[in-house]
């Protein structure tokens, strides 16, 4: 039985070859595309479970492809980039990627990221709160609905899980590592920039003034803390 259908998008044929050999060896079903355009077409036709997307491609670049994929479906996307620069990583996550891996990478790392990305909607803390209300924020965990500053906001699955984890520990600082492992999985823990991107997005959606957060507070050197509901 297939572990999942993975679409490999890269303009370099050798990389596609090695990906195919490896992923097939780990019982994934592998599809290949050479360009962003081809990838979009194939994603619509074949409905893969995950897309491995090269950031630097001629024509429609990786970021644009990522946005287009995101607009069309909830498919898991891992961006592969040669530039180990935070700006690129943030751009990838902003474009809707679930994760990114810097080239060159060890195959174990990539497989772990693929497994984590495929493990969709990670289960939140068992017996966690079912609802939450605080300064301008209302969360219905069962209905996965969030109202902030009096209006309904749409959160991505990762943002929602991040918020759930913070709420479960409301009033206490949660370390970077705890947050990463709770939301992304046990293979994570050393990616503080993930948190920065997602916390920023979350703040933009739920804080009255994202530059002066009142709900999600930074605990310097430690992590983040959700302000305890007043009263």
């Amino acid at each position: 039985m297939s572990a999942g259908k993975v679409l490999v998008v890269d303009d370099d044929p050798q990389i596609r070859r090695v990906m195919k050999a490896t992923l097939v060896g780990h019982s994934y079903e592998v599809l290949e595309a050479r360009t962003g355009e081809e990838a979009l077409e194939m994603a619509t036709r074949e409905a893969p479970n995950l897309v491995l997307l090269d950031m630097n491609m001629p024509g429609m670049g990786g970021l644009e492809t990522c946005r287009a994929l995101r607009a069309a479906s909830d498919v898991a996307v891992i961006v592969l980039t040669v530039r180990n620069s935070e700006k690129d990583k943030v751009a990838a996550l902003d474009a809707g990627a679930d994760d990114y891996v810097t080239k060159p990478f060890g195959i174990e790392e990539l497989l772990a990221r693929i497994r984590a990305a495929l493990r969709r909607s990670p289960t939140g803390p068992e017996g966690g709160p079912r609802g939450f209300e605080s300064a301008g924020l209302e969360i219905d965990f069962e209905g996965r609905r969030v109202r902030a500053q009096g209006r309904e906001v749409r959160l991505t699955p990762k943002e929602f899980e991040l918020l759930r984890c913070l709420v479960a520990h409301a009033g206490r600082p949660v370390t970077h590592r705890e947050l990463l492992q709770a939301v992304w999985g046990p293979d994570y823990g050393d990616e503080p920039e993930y948190l920065r991107v997602f916390i920023n997005q979350l703040r933009k959606k739920i804080e009255a003034n994202p530059a002066k957060p009142k709900i999600i507070l930074t605990e310097p050197w430690v992590g983040y803390r959700l302000a305890e509901p007043a009263g």
Partner: protein, 475 residues
């Protein structure tokens, strides 16, 4: 020509005398007619012709018309008056007309010179090469003004250009002296002139011409034109150099980017393949595959560092400065050395009220990472490592301290040089020797300081400073 005019003048006077001898007219008519003739001769031909005609007219008038007719009578005062009137008329008229003629000739010459100047201006082609422009200019001057030779002393390059067939040109000495003249025009000596070529207060050199010379006025105009033309050529040359330099920088930058990409692409395939094989390899193969894997990592790091170093040396390091919490810089660096750390404890000493730094977050993080890497690589595994961050005035000082062997005093300055390795680590292959040089490049691009304090057998502390953000806020 001259002789013909004398003959004609005499003939005219003789003709008048002969005609009036036959006609019954009074003496006054004869005298006035002769006067008219002399006026005409002096106006058209000149003083000499008119004077000769005057003498003949007085003699003729006296002999044939003044009584006693047929005889020269000098004593009669009337004779003297007539002679003087003829002479004065001849002189005055000839001078007046000669002046008018000279004026006309001058005006004509000036018109011609203006025309030539205009032709010179029009014939000059704009080039971005001052030397070529000077040569072209001299050729055109010789061509348009018909000078036998022209020379130019180009002061900036201390070079003399010459043209024209003249074998006895304006001397180098005269040209160099003329270049120093502060007022506008140079002086003509004999058949040559050396004129300063100035643009405002600045001397560009001098222009020498060999006869036939245009007027002093025109020489000055030519010199001014030379100044403007050469200056324009120089400006164009500078502009094109700047453009060429800019293009080459762009190309270099693009090459570096594509180099980084092109090396990493095959390395990605190699690393993915070898790590895949490592997962299922037996003991014998595992060792060899590990070597391939590690060397792929080294090549990758080498490529990254070569590109970083090249950027720093080309002054192309692009800083994206913003306010960044020191915490982010340090934790980011710690996360990056996670693999190398192998669980070794690293203590962090940071003031609680540390302000944010004004820096490029990624590059600042790279400096801390480099310090940490050095500490992790070059000090015993059981010794502690401490990261510190504190505020000193308007600066934030970040340090990484180890309890290793320390660095000899004479080596402390050199370890920030490219390819320098500590004496004891010289033959180890790990690393490229560029790490600290890159850190130094990054810190200096920020306009900040990097240094090391060390004591033998006590350990070393690597420091660098960052500007504290003006707002001084924590996050």
């Amino acid at each position: 020509m001259k002789a013909l005019r004398f003959a004609a003048s005499l003939a005219l006077v003789a003709a008048i005398v002969a005609v009036y001898r036959l006609l019954p007219v009074n003496n006054t008519t004869v005298a006035l007619t002769l006067l008219l003739a002399i006026l005409g001769i002096s106006a058209w031909w000149g003083l000499a012709e008119a004077t000769l005609a005057s003498v003949l007219a007085v003699l003729g008038f006296n002999f044939y018309f003044l009584p006693p007719v047929g005889k020269f009578t000098i004593q009669d005062p009337q004779n003297l008056v007539a002679f003087l009137v003829f002479l004065v008329t001849a002189v005055t008229a000839s001078q007046l007309s000669a002046r008018a003629r000279r004026r006309a000739a001058e005006a004509e010459a000036r018109r011609l010179e203006s025309e030539r100047l205009y032709a010179l201006v029009r014939s000059l082609e704009l080039t971005g090469n001052p030397r070529k422009t000077i040569r072209e200019f001299l050729n055109r001057v010789v061509q348009e003004f018909g000078c036998r030779g022209a020379a130019f002393f180009y002061r900036q390059a201390d070079e003399i250009f010459r043209t024209g067939p003249e074998s006895q040109p304006v001397t180098d000495h005269d040209l160099k002296v003329a270049a120093e003249i502060e007022h506008a025009a140079g002086e003509a000596t004999g058949d040559r002139v050396a004129s300063p070529v100035r643009l405002g207060m600045r001397s560009l050199g001098s222009l020498g011409l060999v006869a036939p010379l245009p007027s002093a006025h025109t020489v000055r105009a030519i010199a001014d034109l030379a100044a403007i033309t050469i200056e324009k050529a120089r400006a164009m040359e500078e502009a094109s150099h700047a453009e060429a330099a800019r293009q080459s920088e762009l190309l270099k930058s693009a090459l570096l980017d594509s180099l980084a990409h092109d090396i990493k692409t095959p390395l990605t395939s190699i690393k993915a393949a070898v790590t895949n094989l490592l997962g299922e390899a037996g003991v014998a193969d595992r060792e060899l595959l590990t070597i391939i894997n590690e060397e792929a990592d080294r090549l990758n790091q080498l490529a990254a560092e070569v590109v970083a170093m090249a950027r720093i040396e080309a002054g192309k390091l692009h800083l994206e400065k913003r306010e960044v919490p020191v915490e982010q810089i340090v934790t980011g660096a710690l996360a990056e050395v996670q693999g190398l750390r192998k669980g070794r404890p690293i203590a962090i000493h940071a003031a609680a009220d540390l302000p944010a730094a004004e820096a490029d977050p990624e590059l600042a993080q790279q400096v801390v990472k480099q310090f940490l890497e050095n500490a992790l690589k070059y000090t015993p595994e059981d010794t502690p490592i401490t990261v510190s961050a504190e505020r000193k005035g308007g600066k934030i000082v970040i340090g990484v301290a180890d309890r290793g062997a320390g660095i000899e005093e004479h080596e402390r300055a050199m370890i920030f040089d490219r390819f320098y390795r500590g004496r004891e680590h010289r033959f180890e292959t790990e690393g490229t020797g560029m790490g600290l040089a890159i850190a130094k490049g990054i810190v200096e691009a920020h306009g900040e300081r990097i240094w090391v304090e060390s004591e033998r057998r006590q350990g070393s502390v690597f420091y660098f400073t960052l500007a504290a953000a003006a707002g001084g806020k924590e996050n």
